[in-house]
Symmetry: C2
Subunit: 202 residues, 2 copies
DNA sequence: AAATTGTTTAACTATTTGGTTAAACCATAA
DNA sequence: TTATGGTTTAACCAAATAGTTAAACAATTT
């Protein structure tokens, strides 16, 4: 029985690697089989079809991304700390899963109706609302300057996520090595947090 | 001869629509032919292969995006105005070409070596450098607070581009109509500019 | 009008690719 | 050891898809 589990796991890992890199339409079942070092028929034996296998990978990716990120938003720290923690957590998560955001954005673009359903029912939604309310509270108390909370949320997410999505362009354009990029993102935790909080000074 | 030109143009327009929406691997030659309302053989008659046709669309998209954006960075206005103009121009361009950034990011991800070459030789590169120098100048003169100019550049690009790449997620998650989204982006021009300049207060 | 040249189409081919099957393999239980 | 049941493989199939071709068509030239 350990063979079964082992094979199943090998398939999932290979599928994740290929799907996340090439997307649903770009991935080949043969590529996944090769990556897992097994016969292509095994993919169908364990997971029936390409679509079924993809579904598993997509859901897993979505959950992985949202779960960790989410704990921060719902936490009860003071506002400044919460921003710092959110940025830190976001950039850390993406540093270890750099392909994830582009993968998810892309597939939702290709198939909004089918995939957005999961998003809406994900644990992320309510916490974002909570974060927005926290922002409004701070503004009303005059502790930060007033602006549309939605725009602030978009700014925060944009600055955390975008550099990873555009990574190959950034690295290519500015001749950065992988190490350079890692360092840049590490510094970015501090820099983005500061950038946001400085902007919000009343 | 007008028939020829007309067909050629129809093909290019159809190809742009399909490629930009579905990407290289997701696009079907038949889809492009259908979109153009012509026989599939015509695609090969005029443009030989899928790859050749894709190359044309990709280069065109890249040029379109960079050319307009670029004029701003190289201009000679005062810093504050330059930031405002850059943000405004960026968001305006993307409002009329919402699929463009994701398309370009994606295809470069799929084929970095082949496509980055063009990027590096594009007219964008030197002007970005000029913008960075302008930032440094302002910092040295104490007109804005000090921070890594590269991070500032990343922040600016992120906040302008990301919302368009993530558009379906944003709209789906927050139940925004197309009109809502347009308005949000229109307000964003002002909001992001302010956000940046506020953060840079010394 | 006839000939020539470029354009368009339907039908076809070759290749890729997701999916199936029957037989071989292998571990475990009887 | 042999029988059983799950696992794996090579070979195959069917559908999708990029690309080709020969013939029909249309415009232009002579």
């Amino acid at each position: 029985m350990q063979t079964t589990n082992n094979t199943e796991r090998q398939i999932i890992e290979a599928a994740r690697k290929i799907f996340v890199k090439k997307g649903l339409s770009g991935a080949r079942m043969q590529d996944i089989a090769d990556e897992a070092g097994i016969n292509k028929a095994m993919l169908h034996y364990y997971y029936r079809s390409k679509d079924k296998l993809f579904e598993i990978i997509f859901n897993e990716a979505l959950e992985q991304l949202l779960t960790r990120i989410n704990q921060v938003f719902s936490g009860d720290m003071p506002f400044q700390e919460k921003v710092a923690a959110a940025v830190d957590n976001y950039i850390s998560t993406l540093s270890t899963n750099p392909y994830l955001p582009l993968f998810i954005i892309n597939e939702i673009n290709q198939n909004p109706n089918r995939l957005l359903e999961r998003f809406r029912h994900s644990p992320m939604f309510p916490n974002v609302q909570k974060f927005i309310m926290h922002i409004q509270e701070e503004m009303e108390n005059g502790r930060i300057r007033k602006m549309d909370p939605m725009q602030l949320l978009l700014n925060t997410l944009s600055m955390c996520i975008f550099p990873f999505a555009a990574r190959p362009i950034i690295q290519g354009l500015f001749q950065k090595t992988d190490e350079d990029f890692s360092r840049l993102m590490e510094e970015r935790k501090q820099s983005v947090t500061e950038f946001i909080l400085m902007s919000l000074r009343p």
